[in-house]
């Protein structure tokens, strides 16, 4: 029996290497049968966007993602879990967020990664501001009701 993994959570300005993060979870072990990665990237919105500025709440960002990751580790039989969220100025085509979930079987890894992204969107203290290609200020990105709904579908009857 492997112990419940302690999730790795990193909030950073610099980019991340997806292959290196997968290797970090799988290296030296043979009990992992499934690794699901989700990588969120910055879109250019048909050329209208020049950059996204990601503001975050230092301290709480780590703590809140840590709480969400711990909940995922409690709900699914995971053998490894990594969440990396960038902040600062991010250009179209660049990475924003990475979730890597490792498990013996695929279903737990898929579901845990999906859950993490839905909860991250509605609970992790990050805010996106758009910078537009024509130089005008694009303003703050608004939340989508679809994201809130996506998070609610994971709630258990007792919640």
């Amino acid at each position: 029996m492997s112990a419940v993994p302690v999730p790795t959570v990193r909030i950073q300005r610099q980019d991340f290497d997806v292959a290196a993060e997968i290797a970090r979870l799988t290296q030296g072990r043979a009990d992992i049968g499934a690794v699901v990665t989700f990588c969120g990237l910055c879109r250019d919105e048909q050329g209208a966007l020049s950059a996204l500025e990601l503001e975050h709440y230092p301290g709480m960002a780590e703590a809140e993602i840590g709480r969400i990751a711990a909940e995922a580790a409690g709900r699914w039989p995971l053998q490894g879990l990594t969440v990396i969220h960038r902040h600062g100025t991010i250009a179209p085509g660049e990475n924003i967020v990475l979730v890597v979930a490792a498990s013996a079987h695929r279903q737990a890894a898929f579901e845990a990664a999906n859950f993490l992204m839905d909860y991250l969107k509605s609970r992790a203290p990050f805010w996106k501001k758009e910078h537009r290609a024509d130089g005008s200020e694009g303003g703050w990105v608004e939340t989508k009701e679809a994201d809130a709904q996506a998070a609610r579908r994971w709630q258990r009857p007792s919640e």
Binding site: H56, A63, A124, F126
Partner: protein
């Protein structure tokens, strides 16, 4: 007791500062009381908090709802709905 208030995104821009230390007057017991009191402090606050229902709040870096008691809070953060991920 002094409480640190921290603002993010358009709440920060409208209030015009990232954080401040305040001495809360007597009678400010809940998050809702705090939002009501802050709105009376000037135009920027009124602009930021005119729709209090949309304002999200964290006490000591944990999400709370507007009924939460704020006694003993070292740090209270006010911000718009989050758009990370």
């Amino acid at each position: 007791m002094t409480t640190r208030l921290i603002y993010f995104a358009w709440v920060r821009e409208r209030i015009g500062m990232p954080e401040e230390d305040v001495d809360l007057p007597a009678g400010i017991e809940t998050v809702a009381d705090l939002l009501r009191w802050l709105r009376s402090r000037g135009e920027g606050y009124e602009h930021a908090l005119q729709y209090p229902d949309v304002i999200r709040v964290a006490i000591n870096q944990e999400h709370v709802d507007h009924r939460e008691k704020i006694s003993g809070a070292r740090e209270i953060a006010l911000f718009p709905p989050m758009t990370g991920g």
